[in-house]
């Protein structure tokens, strides 16, 4: 028996074992947030499971070498497929927690069996003192290798899925190799079967490695570069807040909503043109969407505003913006302002059923129309309902996605507004986190493009020059030549434009 080579196996096994543990910890803090809890739970369960495995090793009495190889293959399969399986189960099943902890326990138990079995195989070659010292030392060396490789090389270069599959292959490789190293201990008739089994596992994992890209796009979509400081699923969407070098960012269903580093550009451009276009002192303001409270912050800068009605679908979102310090500080505790009232509901249904007094200004700040439920919030029907809540001279601003990336989508929204009788002044600005972003300023009566932001309002971005330039459209964002459809409930043309245009960037 080639003892020194078996010691190499110890290092590999140990590395693999720790990698699976790190994978589970990282993955669960990625998708569930709260990394302290996740890592603590994973490490605890994993170590405990290893203890269970070590204990169970006593029940393996005969054919230790064969059992060792079988266990190695089992670790290869379960551990190797752990990351893709966990991603997929997070994406597609509701009992992700059960899958996660069961898997961690299973891997831990199998890994816990490895070293005791290996020590028993080696016990006849070395004396006990030597054996314990060497095996355990190498075991911890493997752990060090894993914990250094994982953050420095594996996650940034390979990603979680490939790392997982690759180390599965290493485990399978150990098993296959061990059929040669341990061949004196295994009856010849079984050798071939074991080698075939090993080869099948290697091939399976090999296929998974090649397909890892697809798995990654399938499951790793919307994973985040920065640390997650909040992550929770409401009945409507998945809310994630991250914290990075540039500040906090909010993601809904994996789509960036703002980054605190440049959101003031987006929200100043969203709110102040409507105030500039309104003649007189605006008193009543309607905000549709905007659950982050950042549009509120801009609106509340106006002393004349007496009442702001915000309608946002998700109570978890408005609650978070009010109670989660990083967000509440960013929106300057707007939700605590007595002028603000919040209604949680679908704005379409709210407009259809609510008899609110008309508003002077309406700010419409919905997520982009990437599904039919959102698409209906950009239809002629919706804008007709909105008109019923306006006065003849009210000013409206609508966020309209990017006129550069989704040119047809943008102009479809403009045409839809015009189709219900709004006079529309399209405008755009640059928000580095998003790119070039488009809005529509609309009134029901003819009006001139405002030339300046309102006076005596504290602004970080808008000034005389930048204000006027927003209403200029470079050639590549102008209304396209061909026919652009009006978005209606019964055609949802916008959702189809949007999907086609944004898909090019996926």
């Amino acid at each position: 028996m080639k003892t020194p080579l078996l010691f190499l196996n110890v290092i590999i096994i140990a590395t693999c074992g720790l990698i699976y543990e790190l994978l589970a910890g990282t993955l669960s803090s990625y998708v569930l947030g709260d990394s302290i809890t996740q890592f603590s739970f994973i490490i605890g369960i994993y170590l405990f499971a290893m203890g269970v495995g070590s204990f169970l090793s006593r029940y393996i009495e005969k054919n230790v070498a064969e059992k060792f190889i079988d266990i190695e293959l089992a670790v290869a399969v379960v551990g190797g497929f752990s990351a893709p399986l966990l991603f997929l189960s997070f994406a597609y099943v509701s009992y992700f927690g059960i899958v996660l902890y069961t898997m961690v326990f299973a891997i831990g138990t199998l890994v816990g069996l490895e070293i005791p079995l290996l020590m028993r195989i080696l016990k006849d070659e070395l004396d006990f003192k030597e054996l314990v010292s060497r095996v355990l030392a190498l075991d911890y060396v493997g752990a060090l290798v894993a914990s250094l490789l994982f953050p420095i090389f594996l996650v940034p270069k390979l990603g979680l899925n490939r790392t997982s599959v690759l180390f599965g292959m290493l485990n399978a490789g150990v098993a296959l190799w061990a059929t040669w190293l341990l061949d004196p201990l295994i009856p010849n008739r079984k050798l071939l079967i074991m080698r075939v089994k090993g080869a099948v596992v290697v091939v399976l994992l090999g296929i998974a490695l090649i397909k890892a890209d697809r798995l990654t796009t399938l499951a790793e979509d919307g994973l985040f570069a920065d640390t997650i400081v909040y992550a929770k699923s409401s009945p409507y969407q998945r809310i994630v807040v991250t914290k990075g070098k540039t500040g906090h960012a909010l993601f809904l269903n994996g789509n960036l909503q703002f980054n605190s580093f440049d959101e003031y550009r987006y929200h100043e451009a969203l709110v102040h043109p409507a105030f500039a276009a309104f003649k007189g002192e605006p008193k009543r303001v309607l905000v549709l969407g905007g659950g982050d409270g950042l549009a509120l912050r801009e609106i509340l800068k106006y002393k004349s505003v007496e009442a702001v009605q915000l309608v946002d679908l998700d109570p978890m979102m408005t609650g978070l913006s009010n109670a989660f310090p990083p967000l509440a500080e960013l929106n300057r505790h707007s939700f605590d302002d007595p002028r603000v009232s919040v209604t949680n509901g679908d704005a379409f249904v709210w407009l259809d059923s609510n008899e609110a007094e008309p508003f002077d200004i309406a700010i419409v700040d919905f997520p982009d129309p990437n599904n039919f439920a959102l698409g209906k919030l950009y239809t002629t029907r919706f804008y007709n309902l909105l008109k019923r809540k306006l006065k003849p001279d009210s000013a409206v601003v609508i966020q309209c996605t990017s006129p550069l990336i989704a040119r047809n989508s943008y102009w479809s929204i403009i045409k839809t507004l015009e189709a219900v009788g709004f006079i529309v002044k399209p405008y755009q600005t640059t928000v580095p986190s998003f790119g070039v972003w488009g809005y529509a300023l609309a009134k029901q009566t003819p009006f001139d493009i405002p030339t300046d932001p309102p006076a005596n309002i504290e602004l970080k971005f808008l000034n005389h020059e930048s204000f006027a330039s927003m209403f200029d459209f470079p050639t590549d964002m102008k209304m396209p030549e061909g026919e652009i459809e009006v978005n209606r409930l019964d055609n949802q043309a916008l959702v189809r434009y949007y999907e086609t245009e944004w898909r090019r960037f996926e």
Binding site: Y92, Y236, D346, F372, A373, R381, D490
Partner: protein
């Protein structure tokens, strides 16, 4: 005869599926509440006994006309009579509620249909129907070309349809996913054939297929299509693609409650051709609201409610020299009407049971008007199922299971733009796969039919048992007239259009196809006939 659960599911949903479903059903799964609602089968069947009825002298009253039946045809007749200022009439309805198969229920978050749930936008030529739509404020004027413009909120909202196939949802009704070149080529050819029929005109300029159907050409090129089944027609033209055949079979089940082999080819083509203005155009869009065609029933009730007598079962109609005597049973007593005219707006097959002397010189063979049976279930959900796959096409208005004999379900909540939280789904099951469907339908109780419905829906939504709080079921013994081959262009149907001894027939049965527009046409026609006779 009591069936095991497996036999029950095999009967309704097919043996292989039943086997799998029985295996999957976990014993502890929650089963929702609910009940059988509506239609009282025993009521109507009293008539079969052919008793004689003595009305106490005090219980007679006079009216110029009586309308028998409060479905769409009877209600349309009443609406038209009132518009013509013909006000001395009464409408007698057997059931506690009017509306027939257009009935609806009141619920939360929305009201919901018990049967018919949409109306294709009529062509501008259908002026009478458009007048009704105008009155109901469903319209928004006319387009430049004269077409009626329907208000956006009443036009079926996108996404309209999706189909569930092998575990996934796909957009549309025709299953494009996985279609072979041969499938695509046949589908293209099928569309071209349909287009030819859409543009076809006879020597007098009449269309082959148009709503209302009395305006269809009677050229033998067209009417000969009624002599074969739609299945045969497809075979004759070499259309064998499984998914095309499914698509046509679905159309027959959906509109007629019949399978492809049971449907006349004329009726099959009528489905595809009658709602398209010219080849290349989209099919006319659908007018729909959560309560479906219950919206029309409620409107009629608003307009002519004071003329309607519910729970009045007409037991005998006696034509005589002076006019017609109508006898009905209400509040456990017999009441009579001496009247000049009757509009008979009940299913045609009932005529011999009610009209005295009908069989002595039968004006038409009433038993050739055959109906099929359905059951309709309304599922009250506390929340919607989450999509199982990110790429699944989202919940639509009409949601169809490719592998099921049911028609799937319509989301009543859809049209209100309510996309989250509680919903009402209306599930449709035509008994066309059943020998003796009607008898069988009434042998099953609520629990069994609810089990069929939920097992079927669970193939796409396994957690339906947690989401669904209540399932109510309506059994329709005589839901729709069946346009089997050799019926629509038969002598029987032609004869039944004519009045018989002051009894004017008005029912969608007279068109051979059960559609709102046809019922409306016959109701209005009969009303106008009464008005003309008066002058």
């Amino acid at each position: 005869m009591k069936l095991s659960r497996r036999e029950l599911l095999a009967t309704f949903l097919g043996a292989p599926f039943a086997l799998a479903a029985c295996r999957d059903m976990s014993a502890g799964a929650r089963f929702p509440d609910g009940e059988i609602v509506g239609q009282n089968a025993t009521l109507g069947h009293v008539l079969r006994e052919g008793r004689s009825f003595e009305v106490p002298a005090d219980n007679w009253r006079s009216a110029k006309a009586v309308i028998v039946g409060g479905g769409i045809a009877g209600l349309s007749a009443a609406w038209k009579l009132s518009k013509l200022n013909f006000n001395d009439y009464a409408l007698l309805e057997l059931e506690k509620e009017i509306g027939g198969t257009s009935r609806s229920g009141i619920g939360s978050p929305v009201n919901y249909p018990w049967g018919a749930h949409y109306l294709p936008v009529p062509f501008q030529e259908n002026a009478e129907l458009i007048e009704l739509l105008d009155e109901m404020a469903l319209t928004d004027g006319r387009a430049a070309n004269g077409d009626v413009v329907i208000r956006e909120q009443y036009l079926c909202r996108e996404p309209e349809e999706r189909v569930f196939y092998k575990g996934r949802w796909y957009e549309g009704l025709y299953l494009n996913a996985g279609a072979s070149d041969e499938d695509k080529q046949q589908f293209g050819q099928f569309q071209q054939t349909i287009d030819r029929w859409i543009d076809w005109r006879d020597t007098s300029g009449k269309r082959a297929f148009v709503v209302p159907s009395h305006q269809c050409s009677q050229d033998s090129q067209v009417t000969d299509l009624d002599k074969i089944s739609f299945a045969e027609w497809l075979r004759n033209l070499g259309f064998t693609s499984e998914r095309l055949v499914w698509y046509c079979d679905y159309a027959c089940r959906d509109d007629y409650g019949l399978r492809l082999e049971q449907t006349s080819a004329w009726a099959g083509l009528f489905y595809f051709c009658s709602r398209v203005r010219k080849s290349g155009d989209e099919s006319q869009p659908f007018i729909t609201v959560p309560e479906g065609n219950g919206r029309f029933v409620n409107y009629f009730s608003e307009r002519v409610g004071d003329k309607i007598l519910r729970s009045h079962m007409v037991v005998s109609i006696v034509p005589n020299e002076k006019g017609v005597d109508v006898v009905c049973l209400a509040d456990n007593e017999l009441r009579g009407f001496h009247c000049e005219k009757v509009i008979y707006a009940s299913p045609m097959f009932t005529a011999p049971y009610v009209i005295r002397g009908f069989n002595n010189d039968a004006p038409f063979a009433a038993n050739e008007f055959q109906h099929n049976a359905w059951f309709v279930a309304n599922l009250f959900l506390n929340d919607r199922p989450k999509p199982r796959f990110a790429k699944d096409f989202p919940l639509a208005w009409d949601n169809v299971f490719y592998e099921s004999p049911s028609l799937g379900y319509v989301n009543a909540t859809h049209q209100k733009g309510i996309d989250y939280g509680p919903a009402v789904w209306t599930y449709y099951y035509p008994m066309c796969h059943e020998e003796n469907g009607r008898t069988k339908l009434f042998n099953y109780d609520w629990r069994e039919l609810a089990d069929v419905c939920l097992t079927d829906v669970a193939r796409a939504h396994p957690n339906i048992y947690e989401l669904c709080d209540r399932v109510d079921i309506m059994r329709w013994g005589h839901a729709m007239i069946s346009p089997r081959p050799n019926f629509i262009w038969s002598e029987t149907r032609a004869r039944a259009q004519k009045p018989y001894r002051n009894i004017h027939f008005a029912h969608t049965d007279l068109s051979g196809i059960a559609l709102f527009e046809e019922a409306f046409y016959h109701g209005v026609r009969a009303a106008k006939e009464l008005q003309t006779a008066q002058i």
